[in-house]
């Protein structure tokens, strides 16, 4: 038995039939072929699967797909500028500039959390960022460059808004 759901995915109207027990992370990866959202654990600890649901960061491995009906979802694939362009979001640019990634597996979730953090608070302190990333685990970087990247990305986001 499947249910039909309609939602906005990365700015586009999307209609899909899903099994009710499907997790959003699975729907994205298996049915919609958006593999940028990663699954790193089974206990909602690692944060590799963070996406934005109606503008708020959620762990897509703990959300059932039927809950998307009528909602707006943003994934890592929806972050770039114009479709087909290689232009990146200021937070993505900041991660590249400050070496905020190594193996790249936690990176999409880190970026989605970071963008939500920056959107929530204009003047992020280092402590805010470290606390804000508490739900995202990285095993490679030791976090230092991620923290630096998030602060720089947040500043760039707010500078862009101010223009």
């Amino acid at each position: 038995m499947t249910v039909q759901i309609s939602f906005t995915l990365n700015g586009r109207p999307t209609n899909v039939d899903v099994e009710p027990a499907t997790l959003v992370a699975e729907l994205l990866r298996e049915q919609l072929n958006l593999t940028g959202t990663h699954i790193g654990c089974d206990t909602s600890q690692c944060g590799a699967c963070v996406v934005h649901l109606d503008g708020l960061p959620v762990k897509s491995c703990t959300l059932l797909a039927p809950a998307l009906d009528g909602a707006t979802l943003l994934t890592i694939e929806g972050l770039q500028g114009a479709p087909g362009s290689n232009q990146m979001h200021p937070m993505q640019e900041a991660f590249r500039e400050h070496h905020g990634l190594q193996c790249g597996f936690c990176t999409p979730g880190m970026l989605m959390t970071a963008i939500a953090l920056a959107a929530e608070k204009p003047d992020l302190t280092e402590a805010d960022v470290r606390q804000g990333l508490e739900g995202n685990i990285c095993r490679c970087t030791g976090y230092q460059n991620i923290v630096v990247s998030v602060m720089a990305g947040a500043a760039a986001m707010h500078a862009a808004e101010g223009e």
Binding site: G36, M88, C103, C138, R139
Partner: protein
């Protein structure tokens, strides 16, 4: 020419674009037409006789394609998982090497041991069918700790391995050590545990296997750090697939840290199954599944003694260790607590006599193998802890006792009493740099400030050396390695002058696509953008041993450097004809071949073009094309080292340890890309801090259950556990690698655990605390404080 970016520059990473935009290609992202799903059924018991498996209900379940067990493996006459390293005891008796079947046969020996593989149309159907297997276990008592495993009467894992001892290994001159201990003015003693760790690369392991009957070829996509080694071990030794019929691909790999360095049973089972059922099969581990199947790390129990003269000079060092192997021998298992541990017990000191005995022990736990540092963090921890104990007992300052015993810079090359010869280093320089960077002078003021808040502040040092760049094949062979440890690179120059490098190392976060491109850009004078690095695919790359032991730049980079030199040499031959000059007169600089003393030149692109359009070309003496290959086998390990200083604050009310400052000054040899090196150091340090303060794999003795079985129960370091670290390099050049590089991937992990625990002990020293086992969790510290002889109060 274009944008040449060379050694020492810090360009942004080539690999980042795809990772930042969600366009990485990890194994779990791959889909193939008609793909089935595989699920492993694993033992819920630590130790049991496997009496039988009834598969009938599972086979009748919807969507099920097949259920395979150890009986099927046996019926197909397949080999067991090979161990890549055979060690022997002092008398030359080889280690006990029981078979490690790819699906359990007769017995299960750890929770997570694989007993069946269920293949169905979807993962959901495979999982549902797996629940329907009826498995008849006769449960036996489990033994999980090494001390318990070697006691008389302990449960025995293998009939022909008495007392569960795989090998009683030793190194060093015991007689010389005995003599030195008899003359010692002081002997410091220390018992310690090096806690078991779970690797936790953020990408769980996964594999996809396909068989094409038309060509009789297999393809395995796997989360591996060394696809060629998997092809060799699995093809030649387990499944009997000819090497040319087997392609192993490790695409983007989401972190390895050693955990993905081994040949796993899952890879063999899924490849074997793909042909049996004539379907492409995909398996992706859950994190919790990884906890009971990824190889674990560390797990030592050690007694150490350091003999000193009356001035605090080290006379001799004796170490007795019990090392946990888990239920079977993993690919490099026995090598880690022996050859990668004993030879590092000299550290940066001039200790004249060292003896090390290691009993390598089987227990009912996940097999233990190389993990982030592998043997070297364990050696550093023992040594740097006991140096602090000795200093405290003799009333000598901890920095001073290190200075009195350090190998002076001018004494290199330095032969230790335990096999290895360090080629270069400057431990004193690293120490001096770290003392300044950490503002050790100001520590007293900071300690007083902490005390005024009721908190105890401590400072901890770790001065260390490691052996990297695994490894000289001849040396490794003498120590029991069953393979060579060289590396290969092919440099393919296209007719238009762009370059593709095929290299046998793997990139799983270390930034090789960038670092290696910098080497080629500098050496050939070609644009950084015009160099692509290819790795991780046995059909595209000639051969390679993969990435581990900080070997990629050291060994792989050297092969690349050699291959690039060959390209230049051939380019000179081509240029000599085109420029009508003697070959000895051709110079190559900044991407141009020129005739010495003239203005006649040909660009690199012109030479590349001529190589592929050989109109004016002496074909009788020169082949067309511009592609060169090199294999490089190092002459020695490399020896990065350094000094780490940790500063902690302990809250006596809760037992919480907060890391407040961390300083590292490391000698990694030549730095190709400082941005990447710094990132590698950060990551390693936080791993070591994780071991020291948070991480612990805990088993229940008797049942063999893994109690820390998921990310809910195993405490990983998170961003808010760390302060901003101060990380710098103080390098001496390696004397035997082409570019002077030493490697940096594991440096942080090796230096940091001892620095942190030494700081914790320093913070609590006034209460009579002399040692704290890792991890120094709030619970452990709080209990220590309750039992301390002095009242718990700030000074």
């Amino acid at each position: 020419m274009g944008n040449v970016i060379g050694i020492g520059a810090a360009p942004k990473r080539k690999e980042d674009q795809r990772f930042l935009t969600g366009r990485g290609n990890y194994v779990s992202d791959i889909k193939r037409h008609g793909m089935a799903a595989g699920v492993f059924v694993r033992s819920p018991h630590g130790h049991a006789v496997l009496r039988g498996i009834d598969t009938s209900a599972a086979l009748g379940s919807p969507g099920v394609i097949a259920v395979l067990t150890g009986e099927d493996v046996k019926a197909d006459g397949l080999g067991s998982l090979p161990c890549g390293w055979g060690i022997s005891d002092a008398k030359g008796v080889p280690m006990k090497e029981p078979p490690f079947p790819m699906l359990a046969q007769g017995k299960v020996r750890f929770v997570g041991d694989m007993v069946a593989f269920v293949i169905a149309e979807t993962p959901e159907q495979a999982n549902a069918a797996a629940e329907l297997l009826t498995i008849d276990y006769e449960v036996l008592p489990s033994v999980v700790g090494v001390l318990e495993a070697v006691r008389p009467g302990a449960p025995q894992l293998f009939d022909d391995v008495p007392n569960n001892i795989c090998c009683d290994w030793e190194l060093g001159d015991n007689a010389a050590v005995e003599t030195a201990f008899r003359k010692a003015a002081h002997v410091a003693k220390l018992s310690l545990v090096n806690n078991r760790l779970i690797g936790n690369p953020m990408e769980p392991r996964a594999a996809i296997a396909a068989y094409e009957p038309g060509t009789d070829r297999f393809t395995l996509w796997t989360t591996s750090q060394f696809p060629h080694v998997v092809r060799f071990l699995m093809g030649a030794l387990v499944l009997n697939i000819p090497q040319h019929k087997l392609r192993v691909v490790a695409p983007d790999v989401g972190g390895g840290f050693g955990v993905k360095q081994f040949h796993y049973g899952e890879e063999a089972v899924i490849t074997w199954a793909a042909k049996r059922v004539m379907r492409t099969i995909k398996w992706v581990a859950s994190r919790s599944e990884g906890y009971v199947s990824d190889r674990h790390g560390r797990d030592h129990v050690t007694e150490a003694e350091l003999a000193l003269d009356e001035t605090g000079k080290f006379l001799a060092f004796r170490v007795n260790t019990l090392a946990n192997m888990g239920g079977y021998l993993s690919t490099f298992g026995p090598n880690i607590p022996t050859n990668l541990y004993g030879p590092l017990l000299g550290g940066v000191y001039t200790t004249p006599a060292i003896y090390c005995n290691v009993k390598v022990v089987f227990t009912n736990t996940v097999p233990v193998d190389a993990y982030r540092g592998a043997g070297r963090p364990e050696a550093t921890f023992v040594l740097e802890r006991i140096v602090d104990v000795a200093a405290s007992e003799m009333g000598i300052d901890r920095v001073e006792i290190r200075r009195r015993n350090m190998i002076p810079k001018e004494a290199y090359p330095y032969q230790t009493p335990v096999l290895v010869q360090y080629d270069s280093g400057d431990p004193m320089g690293c120490l001096d740099g770290a003392l300044v960077a950490a503002d050790v002078q100001g520590f007293g003021i900071r300690k007083a400030a902490s005390a005024s808040k009721g908190k105890f502040r401590g400072l901890g040092y770790s001065t260390y050396v490691e052996a990297c760049g695994l490894a000289p094949s001849r040396f490794a062979g003498r120590l029991g390695a069953r393979g060579g440890l060289y590396e290969s690179a092919t440099v393919r120059v296209h007719p238009t002058g762009q370059v593709t490098v095929m290299i046998g190392t793997h990139n799983h976060g270390q930034g090789h696509e960038t670092t290696f491109a910098q080497i080629v850009s500098e050496k050939l004078g070609v644009s950084f953008e015009n160099v692509d690095i290819v790795f991780g695919d046995t059909d595209r790359v000639q051969f390679g041993m993969g990435t581990y032991g900080s070997r990629s730049l050291v060994v792989g980079g050297a092969a690349l450097s050699k291959a690039t030199d060959k390209v230049i040499a051939k380019g000179k031959k081509i240029a000599s004809h085109l420029l009508e000059a003697a070959e000895v007169d051709i110079q190559f600089e900044s991407g141009k071949f020129s005739v010495a003393g003239t203005d006649r030149t040909k660009t690199f692109e012109e030479i590349a073009g001529a190589a592929y359009v050989p109109h004016n070309y002496p074909l009788e003496v020169l082949e067309p094309g511009l592609e060169e290959q090199a294999y490089y086998d190092p002459v020695n390990f490399t020896y990065p080292g350094g000094c780490h200083i940790a500063e902690v604050e302990v809250d006596p009310e809760t037992g919480t340890v907060t890391l407040v400052n961390y300083t590292a000054v490391d000698d990694v040899g030549t730095v190709i890309n400082p941005m990447i090196v710094e990132g590698q150091l950060h990551g390693g340090i936080v791993q070591g801090v994780g071991q020291a303060l948070f991480e612990n794999a805990v088993y229940d003795e008797g049942s063999g259950q893994l109690l820390s079985g998921s990310l809910m129960d195993y405490c990983m370091p998170r961003a808010d556990h760390m302060p901003m670290m101060k990380v710098t390099t103080h390098s001496t050049l390696c004397t035997h690698t082409p570019m002077g590089v030493k490697g940096c991937g594991e440096v942080g992990t090796i230096g940091s655990p001892a620095a942190v625990i030494n700081a914790v002990v320093d913070a609590l020293a006034h209460l009579g605390v002399t040692h704290v086992d890792m991890p120094a969790t709030p619970n452990r510290i709080w209990r220590l404080l309750q039992n301390a002889s002095l009242p718990v109060a700030a000074e």
